[in-house]
């Protein structure tokens, strides 16, 4: 008899085997002692053909499990007691032991149960049969007749059932179901009922066999009906238990968690749900890449590549089924555990909003497929929808978490930017105010040269502040997309040579322009393009004090043109190349812009390039130096040859910094530039406001 209790955790099979082997040894010992005792009491075996026949009968009824349920407990039993009753009357105590041991062994082997289980059941049945045989002999059953004999047989059957139940309870207690007393008592009434039914059928058989060989056969339909009915009840109970587990598994998996954790939990719950040894749960992540977690006795871990791929393929091949891994096509088997049965559920194609790209769930079982296979596949199929849901929720959760992190990051960046701006404004202001204060403090003690020097410092730093403020405002405008792009057809070669001409003096004539004539006209915002190129060339002039500065333009495709600004200076290390486009980055860690820049130039270049729908990259010049590559579209997408935006709208721009007469343009008063001597490095460069235009830069250049 086998008890079925509520259990959610499968104990480690290895540990259970060791414990069961201990029980086998115990039972074998008990049997041996009892057999010796019987033999000493002149116990007999009985006719060999009857032993074999009854053993076969024993095995036959052993293959016909019936189900009995009482309250929350249930048990599966067989009619072996009936055979035992007949054996008691037909054979001696030794014959009974032999019949039971043989019959049970054949039955379990036919069911393809593991060896250790076969051994255990044969040993426990034979020891119980030995007890029954001895009990029957002790109460004098062999010599009794009529009702007395039946009473003796019932006593022996009760002894058999008691031993069997005790042994089963012990085995369950050892496998961690609870203490022996609990297990024994909770199902004692069931066991008594089962053995009473079985024993009475045996007695009925015995009574009917007195009427000839046909009469016992009359019981067969009755037994068949009982067997079928209890089978249905057992299936229903199993189904109910599975759905109870399904609901509790679903309830346990509703917390907020990351994607991998969700997959691992789904796999763990699925493994328990259909009592497998391992389980894999895979789902596509946000990029659409399949990711999987596997759970077994050692806990969850990332599924190996082969297992992941095979599981996904398995779902396409056998979703909703229970299949033997060894029966699968060779291509599907790689990575899957050989010799096991796989319960598969899921879909690899999106079929519902809750499944963005599908889900694959496979549970691997040590046991051969049985009649419950379809039911297991069904309940796993029900669970897989929940698994898909929690995987999706986990993705959403990760996305929300990431958005939050991004916000926090942006906030931190804003703080850092503000601190950097404060720092950048304070540095030139310190020199400017310091110079002015010095001029005032030491008025009488400074010679003309020194005075001139301090005026120059004050002016230069003032200009630097001006440029910084302009660029900051431009940064804000560009970042808030308040800068309008006004594309118009321009001759690229003309723009390039104009910029080069403007900067020729500053770069000490090192600029060389080459423009493929095939480029001709491009449609872009010439002012912004000029700004970017001016800054790139100024940058090259600053950081590459010697060597040519080459500006090359060439088409790279029908749609795009590449403009390269090549210098032969020290270049930028590969790991720093992305950083040069960040705001206020000084690669050497200094605070002062020793080269007179604002720390925003290249950042603005990149941002304005983006407005122009261009990309700006930094690479290495062959032989050393930096090469900036501006990849510009031939035509800006916002260009409308007919119905262009009116000019006024572009001159001021919403919230633009270039309003005529705006505060920052106030430096071009007559007399203002008087201080700009030949030595002044007048800071106005490419990114001055539109109203002052490039002429302002030209005027105050070195």
């Amino acid at each position: 008899m086998e008890l079925k209790l509520e259990r959610h955790t499968a104990p480690s099979a290895r540990r259970l085997s060791v414990r069961l082997l201990g029980l086998v040894v115990l039972h074998a010992g008990v049997t041996a002692v009892l057999v010796l005792l019987s033999a000493a009491n002149a116990g007999r075996v009985g006719p060999t053909n009857e032993v074999i026949g009854l053993a076969a009968f024993f095995a036959l009824v052993g293959l016909l499990p019936m189900h009995l349920e009482l309250g929350r407990s249930a048990c599966t039993f067989t009619l072996v007691e009936a055979v035992l009753v007949i054996a008691l009357f037909a054979l001696g105590p030794l014959g009974v032991v032999l019949t039971a041991a043989l019959g049970e062994a054949i039955a379990t082997l036919t069911q393809r149960q593991p060896l250790v289980k076969t051994l255990y059941r044969a040993a426990s049945t034979s020891s119980a049969a030995a007890v029954a045989g001895l009990a029957f002999a002790a109460v004098g059953g062999a010599h009794a007749h009529g009702t007395a004999a039946y009473g003796c047989a019932l006593v022996a059957t009760a002894a058999f059932a008691l031993c069997n139940h005790a042994s089963t309870s012990l085995a369950l207690a050892l496998s961690g179901e609870g203490s022996f007393e609990d297990v024994f008592l909770v199902s004692a009434s069931l066991a008594a009922l089962a053995s009473a039914v079985s024993g009475s059928i045996g007695l009925a058989l015995k009574a009917l066999s007195g009427q000839g060989w046909v009469a016992p056969l009359l019981l067969v339909p009755l037994v068949m009906v009982v067997a079928l009915e209890t089978r249905r009840a057992a299936a229903q109970r199993a189904e109910r238990l599975r759905f109870e587990r399904l609901y509790s598994a679903s309830a346990r998996t509703t917390g907020l968690q990351g994607f991998s954790a969700a997959l691992a939990q789904a796999a763990a719950e699925a493994r328990v749900l259909v009592t497998g040894s391992s389980a894999v749960c895979c789902a596509p992540d946000r990029d659409g890449t399949w990711r999987g977690m596997v759970v077994d006795d050692d806990g969850p871990r990332v599924a190996p590549e082969a297992l992941l791929a095979s599981t996904v393929a398995l779902v396409e091949h056998a979703a909703g089924q229970e299949v033997r891994v060894d029966d699968l096509p060779a291509g599907l088997r790689s990575g899957l555990p050989a010799g096991q049965t796989a319960v598969v559920a899921g879909t690899t194609v999106s079929s519902a909003p809750s499944q963005p790209g599908g889900i694959a769930l496979a549970v691997f079982r040590d046991f051969a497929s049985d009649d419950q296979g379809e039911a297991r596949a069904r309940v796993l199929w029900a669970f897989v929808f929940h698994a898909a849901l929690i995987a999706t929720n986990a993705l959403l959760f990760e996305r929300v978490e990431e958005a939050l992190r991004h916000q926090v990051d942006l906030n931190r960046q804003k703080d850092e930017f503000l601190a950097a701006v404060s720092h950048e404004l304070r540095t030139p202001l310190a020199s400017m105010l310091g110079s002015v204060e010095t001029l005032r403090r030491l008025e009488g003690r400074l010679d003309a040269d020194a005075k001139e020097r301090f005026f120059t410092i004050a002016h230069r730093q003032g200009k630097r502040l001006q440029r910084l403020i302009e660029e900051l405002l431009l940064t804000a405008a560009v970042e808030h997309r308040q800068e309008l792009v006004v594309p118009e057809p321009v001759q690229l070669a003309e723009v390039l040579s104009e910029v080069a001409e403007d900067l020729a003096a500053q770069a000490h004539g090192r600029i060389v322009v080459s423009c493929e004539p095939s480029i001709g006209r491009v449609v872009t915002d010439p002012h912004k393009l000029r700004q970017v190129l001016t800054n790139l060339i100024e940058n090259a002039a600053k950081y590459a004090p010697t060597g040519l500065i080459e500006v090359e333009a060439a088409p790279v495709s029908d749609e795009r043109i590449e403009i390269r600004v090549i210098d032969h200076g020290p270049g930028v290390a590969p790991e720093d190349r992305a950083r040069v486009f960040e705001r206020f980055v000084q690669l050497d860690g200094s605070s002062t812009r020793s080269q007179g820049g604002t720390g925003l130039g290249l950042y603005l270049c990149a941002t304005v390039a983006e407005l122009l729908e261009a990309t700006l990259d930094l690479t290495e010049t062959a032989g050393g130096g930096a090469t900036f590559v501006l990849c510009l579209p031939r035509s800006h997408s916002s260009f409308r040859p007919v119905g262009r935006p009116p000019v006024e709208a572009t001159a001021t721009g919403p919230g633009g910094l270039a309003g005529p007469g705006g505060m920052i343009d106030g430096t071009r008063r007559p007399g203002g530039p008087g201080l700009v001597g030949a030595g002044s490095s007048g800071g106005a460069g490419g990114f001055d406001s539109r109203a002052s235009g490039p002429t302002a830069g030209r005027e105050e250049r070195r």
Partner: protein, 127 residues
């Protein structure tokens, strides 16, 4: 004559400071980056140091912490003069062992006053 070392990578600030300090009778030496600042301090043993924070090569705050770790320089009076003006940064500057922390833009009179105090404290210094 009290010798002051200016460590700042901004030549304008150095020039402004040098003019004012020399007018007050200090002997002024100037150096433009972190490692050179360390070398100059070790070589010339100035009486006072005016130190910027953000310097090429090695930051002023690191330099200051190193000065405070060495027995021979741990009492060297240092005024940190930096454009870093957030509370946390000023606190960090004091923590590193600055005798005074001045934020840019600064009042020349204030710096001169601090240097005067520090010079007065350290002149009768034994050893």
């Amino acid at each position: 004559m009290t010798r002051v070392l200016l460590v700042d990578d901004d030549p304008s600030v150095c020039e402004v400071l040098a003019a004012n300090l020399e007018a007050e009778g200090y002997e002024v030496d100037t150096v433009g980056d972190g490692p050179a600042g360390w070398d100059r301090i070790v070589e010339t043993r100035p009486d006072l140091v005016v130190l910027d924070w953000m310097l090429p090569g090695r930051s002023g705050i690191d330099l200051l912490a190193d000065l405070r770790r060495h027995p021979r320089t741990k009492d060297l009076p240092v005024v940190l003069l930096s454009a870093k003006a957030r509370d946390a940064e000023i606190w960090e500057g004091w923590q590193a062992g600055a005798n005074y922390y001045l934020t840019k833009p600064f009042q020349i009179e204030q710096l001169l006053y601090y240097l005067e105090l520090l010079a007065a404290e350290s002149t009768p210094r034994p050893a």
